[in-house]
């Protein structure tokens, strides 16, 4: 038994483009996944998520670097000899086989005796809530059911690691949410590690133990969902994971207080955190929309004036879209409980927003923060 189910070391993959030149689909990726961990790969389209999965499942060979699965170097090991199974984005169910044959495929290939095969197919289908569907053909199932069949097929051989490439992206919102919970439960029940790919940040935050944010073939940050959201490592992560207001500017320090002066002449107030040493220079201050509220004279909160362009009703809250006096875009989410003051904002098209300087997250700009 090895502590890490998978470890990638300096994994690099380049594709040559038809129009000439090369693209770094994966650029020096270091990644470790522990036993029984649910890791989400999050990133925009084309950032290399599928390529990374293919490197692990063996469909793509690395140009540089190393991949160990359960401590064993996978080097040239072909896909069919790797202890890894995949749930493909479009399900990839074999259309000419029944549900039962699909699910039992891995066992049949491994020459598992028929009685045991039938038993385990039944169990796997039970597990995904499709008991009694074994004789159906895939095309007679709904999208969500096909999804479950793909899942049952991928877990039946008890892989050490399950790879899921955007398995929920084709489902509607409600089904997606219930499948998210089911997947999470299933992972706990099976006790195998999952690497789950998505470009939906909400999905990533709900489901995983850790989130790896990928962009341009580079891992931007690997951390718990909470830390990824609250303390993004750079402005890409800040804007990709959740909505954010980013203020780039020069920091100046005055005791505990830090002031960030932007090009647009706004000044954002923040507090120094113990783990950060900021003495000046370029930084980016991040404020989540929900960190704003309408100013009510509280001395502990910093304030900023904005002109409001649009107010969007979200149900439990209102979203205010506007600009600072300096011209930076601002997005704020205000609880719908503040109805009367919101009416005033709507009338005057201006608002004074306040925020807690302690909650402002500072992202190092040019290396002045260590």
């Amino acid at each position: 038994m090895h502590d890490k189910i998978i470890s990638l070391d300096n994994a690099t993959k380049r594709f040559s483009l038809p129009e000439g030149g090369k693209i770094n689909a994966l650029d020096a990726i270091d990644l470790e996944v522990s036993r029984n961990e649910f890791l989400t790969l999050l990133g925009p389209s084309g950032c290399g998520k599928t390529t990374l999965l293919h490197v692990i499942s063996g469909f793509v060979q690395l140009d540089e670097g190393q991949i160990l699965i359960d401590g064993v170097d996978m080097g040239e090991t072909p896909p069919h000899n790797r202890p890894v199974n995949t749930v493909f984005q479009n399900y990839a169910l074999f259309p000419h086989m029944s549900v039962g044959e699909n699910v039992g495929y891995a066992l049949e290939i491994a020459h598992t005796p028929k009685p045991e095969r039938i038993k385990r197919v039944g169990e796997a289908l039970e597990l995904v809530g499709l008991g009694g569907y074994a004789d159906r053909m895939p095309r007679q199932l709904s999208g969500g059911q096909q999804q479950r069949v793909a899942l049952a097929r991928a877990i039946i051989a008890r892989p050490k690691l399950l790879l899921l490439d955007e398995p929920l992206s084709a489902l509607d919102r409600n089904l997606r949410q219930s499948m998210q919970i089911e997947l999470k439960n299933l992972q706990a029940e099976l006790g195998i590690s999952f690497i789950f790919v998505t470009h939906d940040q909400e999905e990533a935050l709900t489901m995983s133990n850790r989130v790896a944010v990928l962009n341009g073939g580079v891992i931007q940050q690997i951390d718990t969902p909470l830390n990824t959201y609250n303390y993004p490592a750079n402005s890409f992560v800040a804007s990709f994971v959740g909505a954010s207001n980013l203020f780039e500017g020069k920091a100046s320090r005055d005791g505990e207080r830090i002031h960030i002066a932007t090009e647009h002449n706004e000044v954002i107030e923040a507090r120094a955190r113990k783990d950060q040493h900021i003495n000046g220079g370029k930084v980016t201050a991040m404020l989540r929309p929900e960190q704003f509220s309408l100013a009510d004279g509280d001395e502990n909160r910093a304030e900023i004036d904005v002109t409001i362009d649009q107010i969007v009703f979200l149900g439990s809250a209102y979203e205010l879209l506007g600009k600072t006096t300096g011209g930076s875009e601002i997005k704020a989410i205000i609880s719908a409980a503040r109805q009367s003051r919101l009416a005033e904002v709507e009338r005057t098209k201006t608002a004074r927003l306040s925020y807690d300087p302690n909650a402002v997250h500072l992202i190092p700009g040019t290396g002045d923060v260590q």
Binding site: T86, Y105, I109, Y133, Q140, A157
Partner: protein
């Protein structure tokens, strides 16, 4: 309600549109067929033409119950039948073995190379069949290209017997019918979903297992379609055996042609044609049955 009446109107319009075609087909396709069927049961006249008497022995001559008064059962017809089947089957197998890998190769080319290859495959259709076959005569005959080259190189001293053999006939058939195999094969290979191949490998199947369990079954419609499209015209073809098979390789097509054009025994020719057609129809029927059986599983079967 509105939708229903609209679909009724559409149906009426459709039958109006299809009507003339249907009538045309009925007249120019089924009528000759019916005439052939009737002729095949009539007695051949002494100097061509027919006597209007019911006469089952046209079939008897082929199948073994010849007219005892002046015909003999001659196993040569069954031999020709079998030879034709053998040549057609061999042609199917060879074209399949050539086209199947080629279809995969071409389907993985870049778009413009793909189109160019398809154009090359269709190119022979632009030249006359007879001309293309006579080129093979020039290549294969005793003083032809291959023999003269091999002899001038001193590899052989006597010319090889290549032309006027069953082999030459098969070669000609393969040459002519290869596009008929390639195009349906290509169509099914082209739409093969490669993630299914990946899924199979991912689930532990090696290349061999993946081929037999996933790739082959999924491209089977193309294989069967191509085989039918090659088998049927090969069976009835008489130009290739005439040009490349000579007198020795007589096929069903030649036999039928002879009965109609030289022997002027139309009823016997008609009986031969009917037998060939029945055979082909039975095969097609079996194929269609096997197709619909696994294509038609209703959800109710669970």
């Amino acid at each position: 309600m509105k939708g229903l009446s609209q679909s009724n109107r559409q149906r009426a319009q459709l039958s109006l549109l299809l009507g003339p075609v249907t009538i045309f087909l009925a007249i120019f396709f089924f009528t000759p067929l019916l005439i052939m069927l009737i002729y095949s049961f009539l007695m051949p006249g002494l100097y061509g033409g027919v006597e209007w008497i019911f006469y089952p022995h046209n079939y008897g001559r082929i199948l073994g119950f010849a007219d005892p008064t002046f015909e003999f059962f001659d196993p040569v017809y069954i031999q020709i039948f079998l030879r034709s089947l053998r040549i057609a089957a061999t042609t199917v197998i060879i074209t399949l073995l050539v086209c199947y890998p080629a279809a995969f190769q071409i389907s993985r080319l870049k778009e413009n190379w793909k189109n160019f290859s398809l154009f090359l495959i269709a190119l022979p259709f632009f030249a006359s069949l007879i001309v293309r076959l006579f080129i093979w005569v020039l290549i294969l005959k005793k003083t032809g290209f291959i023999n003269s080259t091999l002899m001038s190189l001193g590899i052989i001293s006597e010319p090889l017997d290549m032309i006027y053999t069953e082999g030459a006939t098969i070669l000609g058939m393969v040459y002519i019918f290869i596009p008929f195999m390639f195009l349906p094969l290509y169509a099914s290979v082209e739409k093969l979903d490669w993630t299914l191949v990946k899924a199979s490998q991912d689930l532990g199947a090696n290349g061999f297992q993946t081929f037999f369990r996933v790739i082959l079954p999924l491209t089977m419609p193309g294989i069967i379609g191509g085989s039918i499209l090659v088998f049927i015209p090969t069976l009835g073809n008489f130009v290739v055996p005439t040009v490349l098979g000579g007198a020795k390789v007589l096929m069903l097509g030649n036999l039928i042609e002879q009965q109609f054009l030289s022997a002027r025994n139309w009823p016997f020719g008609a009986a031969l044609s009917m037998l060939v057609m029945t055979g082909v129809l039975v095969m097609l029927f079996i194929y269609i049955r096997s197709e619909t059986k696994d294509g038609d599983q209703s959800p109710a079967t669970k």
